[in-house]
């Protein structure tokens, strides 16, 4: 999951609609299962209806602000139709809306973990920018309302991965800092104090720790040019705390200083797939370039999987299994 920019002001069109995300995920599955290409505009339509009782009443407060948008009618099951809600949102003033968003506090740094689970479309297909949109937010402090141009926020995460790497497991900790809300009655002294309190807080400290000091677990799908048997990869399971030297990878050398970084691969676990593929689970020191450890980056990362196995290796898939820093505490604790 990446926010390459530090602060992001979302317009309505920047938010991925749930139904779009759903389609991006299911279309390839259908296509594969049925062996047919997917046409979003074909004559054969499939309707999928979802219900979510937990949040069905989230928009009911709109009726208090704008009663005439929600007049009951004979054939409607509920007055809260999509049309009615959209009408109300367009109609009401921002201040009135904010007054009713009770769970949202200006000064709360909502600590959440996010999960990016769709590798195929890490970015919306129709977006020209390489900015990814969060598909699902699970918030420890209640719903985070991100609607319209109400506020901008700063996104701060505990490290980052490439756009083609999935983040699985418990996700990666990050914080969203809500900036310049339209209603904030604080004296500048209070704000300064708040700022200091937040920046020095345990929370931010823990988070940034994750970048440098902690370990990470990855899962990689590896291809080898030579045919391999199970016994050829078993030795990797026994290697503990392997020290590797990584010169700045060529793919980032244009914007990073040229240096050699020593990193530790704490442990590895192999799962044989076939003569030319195996899955490798690795627990590594934070800051390790995994792709380069697999293919060797022109021999500039040593040792590497290729040199250890005496083959030419390449990496086909990479997932982050977990970021091993115990913060924020899981919801069910």
């Amino acid at each position: 999951m990446l926010f390459r920019k530090q602060s992001l002001s979302l317009g309505r069109n920047d938010i991925v609609q749930l139904k779009e995300a759903y389609k991006w995920i299911t279309h390839p599955l259908f296509s594969e299962e049925l062996g047919v290409p997917i046409d979003g505009k074909s004559l054969f339509e499939v309707s999928v209806v979802f219900a979510h009782p937990e949040t069905v009443e989230d928009c009911h407060f709109l009726r208090a602000i704008c009663p005439d948008c929600f007049k009951p009618a004979k054939n409607k099951q509920s007055v809260f139709t999509r049309m009615a809600v959209m009408k109300a949102l367009n109609k009401i003033k921002e201040e009135d809306f904010l007054n009713f968003v009770v769970q949202y506090h200006v000064w709360n740094i909502a600590a959440v973990k996010f999960i990016l689970f769709c590798r195929q479309f890490p970015c919306p297909p129709n977006s020209p920018k390489a900015v990814c949109t969060v598909l699902e937010i699970e918030c420890a402090h209640g719903a985070v309302f991100v609607a319209g141009k109400i506020f901008s926020f700063n996104f701060s995460s505990s490290g980052r991965e490439d756009v083609d790497v999935r983040t699985l497991g418990n996700g990666r900790p990050f914080a969203i800092e809500l900036v310049n809300p339209h209603r904030a009655h604080f004296t500048s002294q209070e704000i300064k104090e708040l700022q200091q309190k937040i920046n020095n807080s345990e929370a931010i400290g823990h988070m940034k720790e994750g970048e440098e000091e902690k370990t990470k677990t990855y899962s990689a799908l590896i291809w080898t040019n030579k045919a391999i048997q199970r016994k050829d990869i078993e030795f990797l399971d026994d290697i503990k705390d392997l020290k590797i030297d990584q010169k700045t990878p060529l793919r980032v050398l244009h914007r990073r200083p040229l240096a050699v970084r020593t990193r530790i691969i704490h442990s590895m676990e192999t799962h044989y797939v076939d003569e030319h593929h195996f899955r490798l689970y690795l627990k590594t020191q934070a800051g390790t370039y995994i792709k380069e450890f697999v293919h060797g980056d022109f021999g500039r990362t040593r040792p590497n999987i290729g040199s250890l196995m005496d083959v030419t290796a390449d990496i086909l898939e990479l997932d982050v299994e977990s970021v091993d820093v115990d913060w924020p505490p899981a919801l069910d604790d």
Binding site: L250, R255, T312
Partner: protein, 198 residues
């Protein structure tokens, strides 16, 4: 050299063969040696015939200088005795030191700047040129210790050097170079010419 990995058909039925690391991230450009001079190719690399270079250009504009498959050093029967980065009394590419994000202190290279000298057991000596203008990032020290890597894996572990062209020039540096297709045509013409005169 493009090594197309073969994915066993039994496991992945519909998927095409996976492109190699070089194919995925780099574009291949070529500088043909003396014999391969074509009007559009511009200034050619001085030296013996067929001293072809292959420049791997990354999408981030970094260039890796390597030997093209047709280079004499890569032909069968050739043994490398030693490689030296001392290109003149005062200049050794090994002394190149680069610091910071902006790579200050790097030796600046023009297209014809020599990178290294390769000495072969048959007495032949070859000079490898930069082929692109830019700052020298690093030279491959691994081939000093084990010259055979250069012949075994010329496109990856056997690279010669890494050059960072100026940002403004990153597009124009390829103007004097041949595309993969043009290079292949040159090689074909050369072989025909060679067989013609023998």
């Amino acid at each position: 050299m493009a090594t197309q990995p073969e994915v066993p058909v039994a496991t992945v039925a519909a998927e095409p063969a996976v492109p190699s690391l070089v194919d995925r991230y780099f574009t291949r450009w070529y500088k043909a040696g003396k014999w391969g001079m074509i009007a559009s190719a511009g200034p050619y690399v001085k030296g013996k015939p067929c001293e072809d270079h292959c420049i791997l250009q990354h999408s981030n504009r970094i260039c890796v200088i390597t030997l093209a498959g047709s280079h004499p050093v890569l032909q069968s029967g050739k043994t490398i005795k030693s490689i030296s980065y001392q290109i003149s009394t005062n200049c050794s590419r090994l002394q190149n030191k680069v610091s910071g994000k902006f790579k200050r202190g790097a030796q600046f290279l023009t297209e014809l700047a020599p990178l290294c000298k390769i000495y072969c057991s048959d007495g032949e000596e070859y000079t490898i040129s930069s082929c692109v203008r830019g700052r020298l990032m690093e030279v491959n020290e691994n081939i000093l210790h084990k010259p055979s890597i250069l012949q075994e894996k010329p496109s990856t572990e056997g690279y010669i050097a890494v050059v960072l062209p100026k940002f403004e020039e990153s597009k124009s540096i390829t103007e004097g170079l041949l595309t993969q297709k043009q290079y292949e045509e040159v090689v074909v013409k050369r072989t025909r010419a060679a067989t013609g005169t023998s």
